[in-house]
């Protein structure tokens, strides 16, 4: 009986020896995401959107910026030309190809969304990293500042920041939207840095006399960025919505030629009874893209959550 048990145990040991390490958390998480239909829908939406944005100039069937004489001839005070051969979604209020403008709009949204998120991420990580690494009064001061920023509703904060700009441009929108996400990233990183600071392996590294700098950059930061990365994906969605909202309110680049979903939506208000599609399509585009990033981010968070490991 015992010998049988011993043989079994040895067998398991051998198997354990030969197994190539097992799966890492990242690989494991990716695998779980591939099995999750929600993640796949999100990933497909994001992929289509990114491809559209990257290759917009080649995909757009017509020039999105110049009015076409054919379409201009059909413009009336009470009607804007609809779908016709060569222009599948018809014209906008200036006689430009609506479909091409929608496609180029994807590029605008992606640039603004990504830039805003990256800037917010960078600034937020510096603040959160400092607070988490140094603690003490630095932590208290920085966190009270983020508290103040968080106490203002995000869109209101973005509008206030954008309104400060003397010459509104695309950058105004990017910076205003970025500032909104700064306190969120800062708090997240600080939180997970603090958890790391209390962890066994940081204590073990301290017991080896490892320099504080090394402990922060090698032992605390890399173990803290996971939730921040997930948040960045979710922030992409809100950034795109916020950026559209600012443009809609006329706080962005005032150039009417710019093909931007929020701006298109804003301008379409005047023609709601004439051609509601002008508002409908950009709105749907914003919603779908934001949904795509949200689904992807949420499923990413779920997959990385060790509680859901199966």
């Amino acid at each position: 009986m015992t010998s049988l048990l011993n043989i079994r145990r040895r067998r398991v040991d051998e198997l354990a020896e030969t197994a190539e390490g097992g799966t890492s958390l990242t690989v494991d998480a990716l695998r779980r995401m591939a099995r999750n239909p929600v993640a796949i829908i999100g990933a497909v939406i994001v992929a289509v959107f990114v491809l559209l944005a990257l290759f917009a100039p080649w995909i757009a069937p017509e020039d999105p910026y110049t009015p076409f004489q054919v379409l201009k001839d059909q413009l009336r005070a009470d009607s804007i030309p609809g779908p016709q051969p060569g222009f599948p979604l018809g014209s906008d209020e200036f006689g430009r190809d609506f479909l091409s403008r929608l496609i180029v709009g994807a590029q605008q949204s992606l640039v603004v969304g990504v830039m805003a998120t990256l800037i917010g991420l960078a600034v937020g990580m510096v603040i959160g990293g400092l607070a988490g690494a140094l603690g003490g009064w630095v932590d208290t001061l920085l966190m009270r500042l983020t508290d103040i920023m968080l106490s203002v509703p995000s869109l209101l904060l973005a509008i206030s920041i954008a309104a400060l700009a003397r010459h509104p441009s695309q950058w105004t929108v990017i910076i205003a939207v970025a500032m909104v996400s700064v306190p969120i990233f800062a708090r997240l990183l600080r939180g997970s840095m603090l958890a790391q600071r209390a962890s066994d392996h940081v204590l073990a590294a301290t017991a080896l006399g490892v320099r504080r700098r090394t402990i922060v950059f090698r032992h605390m930061l890399p173990n803290s960025v996971g939730p921040v990365i997930v948040q960045a994906t979710l922030t992409l969605a809100t950034s795109i919505i916020d950026a559209a909202a600012l443009s809609f309110l006329g706080l962005g680049d005032p150039d009417p030629a710019r093909a931007e979903w929020g701006l298109m939506l804003g301008n379409a208000q005047r023609y709601l009874d004439v051609r509601p599609e002008l508002a409908f399509y950009p709105a749907v585009a914003i919603i779908v893209v934001a949904l795509g990033f949200t689904l992807l981010g949420e499923s990413m968070r779920e997959a990385l959550d060790p509680k859901n490991r199966r």
């Binding site: 354990a16 190539e20 390490g21 097992g22 890492s24 958390l25 962890s199 066994d200 392996h201 204590l203 073990a204 590294a205 301290t206 017991a207 080896l208 006399g209 490892v210 320099r211 504080r212 090394t214 090698r218 032992h219 890399p222 173990n223």
Partner: protein
């Protein structure tokens, strides 16, 4: 004796200050010394202050919330008076430490090689490449097979025993004169425990490192320690050479611990004899003997007078009013 000592801990007191609660004294005047090359055990049940003692020696207690009193003299310097940076300089170089849980003590996102070489780079100023070569040697020395391949692997790819071996390699990388092992085998299964203990014994013998072994497992003590300090409620209650302790435990608490170990040669169906009561029954040391409420030998005096540490037998120290008397001693 203490002039020879590598480490001399005198009246070490650690008090934790808690918000909205009375301060709690986890270590209450612990004294012991460690001579070069010796292995000293700190034994006691959960909450008796073993780990806090080791963290205090290493200067790893949080600066806020904990007050440390007494002195910890290491090679003539009181470690408690050193600045934070001077202490960082010493940790890993003069004093090494191995913790209980090998998985959580390793950084999951840094390769084993880098974690070992990090110590060498830090304290010996070796460049990365040389440190890596030496790291492989160290892993080999602690019995990790195929060390060169292991360098690029991550903690999750190693078994529990291997992880603890790697941690021992890190702690011994700079040949510290003192190694503190805090329950180094508690998270491992029994066969691996024996291997790790054998490894520790071998390394301590080969390098001449003094070892403080913290454990609640008397079996571990029996296998490894030269002398043993038994802690109870933050104080040392008995100090003895290993053989003396196991042959003639003098303190009723030590005696109870030894009696509670199941015996192979015992009668079938024999019940285990636990130390009755729990830490919650303790009375404060200042009003008597903390162990008195649980003690089978307790006299009236035990609850009224705090027992002092007195010499007891060759090299032994004892804090007890009514110690266990062994019959062969009486006849002798």
């Amino acid at each position: 004796m203490s002039s020879l000592a590598l480490l001399d801990v005198r009246d070490l007191t650690v008090t934790f200050h808690r918000k909205g609660a009375r301060p709690f004294t986890a270590v209450d005047g612990v004294s012991f010394d460690v001579e070069p090359g010796r292995t000293v055990g700190l034994v006691g049940e959960s909450g008796c202050g073993k780990s806090v003692t080791s963290l205090a020696i290493m200067g790893l207690l949080p600066r806020r919330g904990a007050t440390v009193g007494g002195s910890v003299t290491f090679e003539g310097t009181d470690l408690l008076t050193l600045s934070a940076s001077a202490m960082r300089e010493r940790r890993g170089r003069d004093l090494g430490m191995v913790f209980q849980d090998p998985l959580s003590s390793l950084n999951p996102v840094v390769s084993i090689g880098l974690q070992v070489s990090e110590v060498l780079e830090r304290h010996r100023g070796l460049p990365r490449k040389k440190a890596m070569v030496e790291a492989a040697d160290l892993l080999d020395k602690v019995g990790i097979p195929d060390p060169r391949r292991r360098l690029s692997e991550y903690p999750h790819q190693l078994s529990g025993g291997m992880r603890q071996r790697a941690l021992i390699a890190m702690a011994l990388a700079c040949r510290p004169r003192l190694l503190i092992a805090d329950e180094p085998t508690t998270a491992l299964d029994v066969t691996i425990q024996a291997q790790i203990l054998a490894l520790l014994a071998e390394l301590v013998r080969d390098t001449g490192t003094a070892l403080i072994l913290i454990t609640h497992d008397l079996g571990v003590v029996a296998g490894l320690c030269d002398e043993v300090n038994v802690l109870y409620a933050g104080r040392v209650v008995e100090r003895a050479e290993r053989h003396a302790l196991f042959a003639r435990p003098r303190h009723p608490y030590t005696n109870g611990l030894l009696a509670s170990i199941p015996r192979l040669d015992g009668a079938r169906g024999e019940r285990l004899r636990p130390v009755r009561g729990s830490v919650n029954d303790n009375i404060p040391w200042r009003s008597g003997c903390a162990f008195a409420p649980r003690c089978p030998n307790a006299l009236d005096v035990c609850r009224l007078v705090t027992p002092e540490m007195v010499a007891d037998g060759p090299g032994g120290l004892l804090r007890c009013h009514n110690p266990v008397v062994h019959t062969e001693e009486v006849t002798a």
